[in-house]
């Protein structure tokens, strides 16, 4: 049995790390839950375009030839041929070019797509795709702090999160068997928040451990890489890495022209040589060259973590397999690493695991939110024992910070999603606007929460979350009903799913807002969650004054 003093010690560790890191982790988990639907969100936010279907796979060779002839830079960088017909794939063929820059300097990229006109000639257009999904992912990875400091900050936070997980389990161990799956609703609010916190934390513990370890490794990714190189490898890591990267690299061009195998035939050759591989896109490198290659990014059915580092390369001339990085062909180290990575990103098991991770992500956000509530509630009890009714400054401040940061993040992300449709074509740099809108709402909410106090602002801001989130399906509805608004309403299951999930989410926020409003009015007065506090305090003072007289 664990001694009481150890439990007490770890309780302090758990509390202090929890309170100091909880808010950053809330943002990371909430945005992380949304990134599980990164692709549907990107599809939802993408304006209608000519689409992949405009050019059939049979006509694709002609399109590829025209693009390769007109845009030689694209041949080298790679021409992507889309296979799925998603809304975020503007046309059958897309490619990326470097912006004009001085050699060796950091630079941006411009995106192109191309299709065939009815007369069979080429139509190419430079158009930047929506970066909304990437922005949400940035918020998830660095809670909006610029690189590299955001990464380091989240590395520290993730490390402490791992420590606090261990501490939390040690604190919980003595009562684990008795209280497992227990959630007591009732008058004892501290008990209730504690149960609500524990049940989420302990059931999802394996998930949280994996997230903590991987997030620490990624947050400190660059420094750890350097430390490995200097302490362990002594220069050999760079060689190993170059050797490793060679397995994903297309062969260099020969300069001799070669006849390209049509994409439909390449897909047949892929199927014959690599069964069970489901390609998402194919990328042609050095199109038209004798050494041209077709890279297939995709997943191997049934494997854990096969989209990021998987993939195969076929010769675009003969269709023979030249590089094979499928999950089933990876070396043991790579395989274990990929599995660990995929356990963070949920890249396995299809739609089931996407939903499971979505709920686990929300449960994580809830874990940190409820942890802060618990801290405030515990402080309240202590305050009452000492006979004072007013809450301490620290609980009021933490209450405001919790409400402002958590709800500000939720509302900001919802509104920035909505902006993808409203601002498209109306502002010059939509990607920058996504950031402006998110930060405006986020910082505004924090200011609001400190100005109005946790209790009042919690009601306001939860309604704000509900309003911004319901604006997602309403925007689609408006776009569908009034096409002259210049917005769009896609009909695919994935994008309608975004609208439906947002609608359900908005209902949940509205329900929470109603419940919060009830508590603010009728809950215990000696709480940061009550607006009766002020009146109660003056009443208490008056009675004291009367008694003194």
């Amino acid at each position: 049995m664990i001694r009481a003093e150890i439990v007490k010690l770890y309780k302090t560790v758990h509390t202090w790390i929890g309170v100091s890191c909880g808010l950053a982790l809330f943002i990371a988990f909430y945005a992380g839950a949304l990134t599980m639907f990164q692709e549907p969100i990107a599809r939802w936010a993408s304006p209608p375009a000519v689409g992949v279907e405009a050019v059939s796979l049979e006509d694709a060779p002609r399109l590829l030839e025209l693009v390769a002839a007109a845009y030689p830079e694209a041949r080298e960088e790679g021409i992507t041929l889309h296979l799925r017909g998603h809304e975020n794939e503007p046309a059958r063929v897309t490619w990326v070019e470097d912006e004009p820059h001085e050699a060796g300097q950091p630079h941006g990229h411009v995106h192109w797509w191309a299709t065939l006109k009815p007369d069979g000639s080429l139509m190419a257009k430079q158009e930047e795709p929506s970066d909304l999904a990437e922005f949400i992912n940035d918020v998830h990875m660095r809670i909006g702090i610029p690189n590299p400091w955001g990464s380091y900050f989240m590395g520290v936070v993730s490390l402490l999160y791992g420590v606090t997980l261990i501490a939390g389990v040690i604190v919980l161990l003595p009562s684990l068997a008795k209280d497992f799956l227990e959630l007591r609703i009732g008058k004892n609010l501290k008990r209730m928040w504690l149960d609500a916190h524990n049940v989420v934390g302990i059931t999802a513990l394996p998930f949280h451990l994996v997230i903590a370890v991987t997030a620490t490794a990624w947050g400190f990714g660059v420094p750890l890489w350097s430390a490995q190189e200097s302490v362990i490898f002594g220069g050999k890591q760079k060689i190993a890495m170059a050797h490793d990267l060679e397995r994903w690299r297309a062969p260099p061009p020969t300069g001799e022209a070669g006849a390209m195998m049509p994409p439909s035939q390449l897909l047949q050759r892929l199927n014959a040589q690599v069964p069970d591989f489901e390609p998402k896109v194919m990328v042609f490198r050095n199109f038209g060259d004798k050494a041209a290659a077709a890279k297939f990014a995709g997943a191997e059915r049934g494997y854990v973590g096969d989209t990021r580092f998987g993939g195969v390369i076929l010769s675009a001339v003969t269709g023979t397999l030249i590089k094979d990085n499928r999950a089933s062909r990876q070396d043991l180290d790579r395989r274990v690493g990929t599995v660990i990575l995929a356990l963070h990103t949920g890249e396995y098991g299809g739609i089931t695991i996407i939903w499971a991770y979505f709920f686990l992500g929300f449960s994580g956000a809830w874990l940190f939110y409820s942890g802060n509530l618990l801290w405030i509630e515990t402080r309240r009890k202590k305050a009452r024992k000492e006979g004072e009714v007013e809450q301490s400054r620290s609980t009021r401040l933490l209450g405001s910070a919790t409400v402002g940061i958590c709800l500000g993040c939720v509302a900001g992300l919802s509104l920035t999603i909505v902006a993808a449709k409203w601002l498209h074509g109306r502002v010059a740099d939509l990607d920058a606007w996504h950031a402006y809108i998110y930060y405006a709402v986020f910082l505004g909410s924090i200011t609001w929460a400190f100005a109005w106090g946790a209790a009042r602002s919690a009601v306001h801001l939860t309604w704000l979350c509900a309003a911004f989130t319901v604006a997602i399906p309403l925007t689609t509805l408006l776009a569908w009903a009034f096409p002259m608004l210049g917005m769009w309403a896609h009909g695919s299951a994935a994008t309608v799913g975004v609208d439906i999930v947002a609608f359900i989410g908005a209902l949940c926020f509205a329900w929470v807002a109603t419940a919060t409003a009830w508590r603010v009015k009728n809950g215990p007065a000696d709480s940061v969650w009550s607006i009766r506090k002020a009146e109660g305090r003056t009443a208490a003072r008056q009675s004291v004054a009367i008694a003194a007289e």
């Binding site: 609703i185 999802a204 396995y348 098991g349 089931t352 499971a356 709920f359």
Partner: protein
């Protein structure tokens, strides 16, 4: 098809697990534990086998694990929400 079967088996297995817990709040009375525990292990085992059949052993194991994690915190919350709805 086998995915739906596997998902149903896993969720039912977790439901039995929850009902076997002395802290369950779905029923106002406590059923005897052992039949539910036996059913839970059978259902979860069958669920795991179906996931493995649908995917591969490693992916099947992790999918079962993560679905079970979600179920095990959703069930207590669902019971808590119901008691909120009743107004206690």
């Amino acid at each position: 098809m086998v995915v739906i079967l596997a998902l149903t088996l896993t969720i039912c297995g977790c439901a039995c697990c929850y009902l076997a817990s002395p802290n369950q709040k779905w029923l106002s009375w406590f059923p005897s534990r052992w039949p539910f525990l036996a059913a839970a292990s059978l259902l979860l085992g069958a669920g795991l086998v179906s996931w493995i059949a649908a995917l591969r052993p490693l992916a099947g194991f992790f999918v079962t694990l993560h679905v079970a994690m979600v179920c095990l915190f959703v069930f207590p919350y669902s019971a808590a929400l119901r008691s909120f709805g009743r107004g206690n």
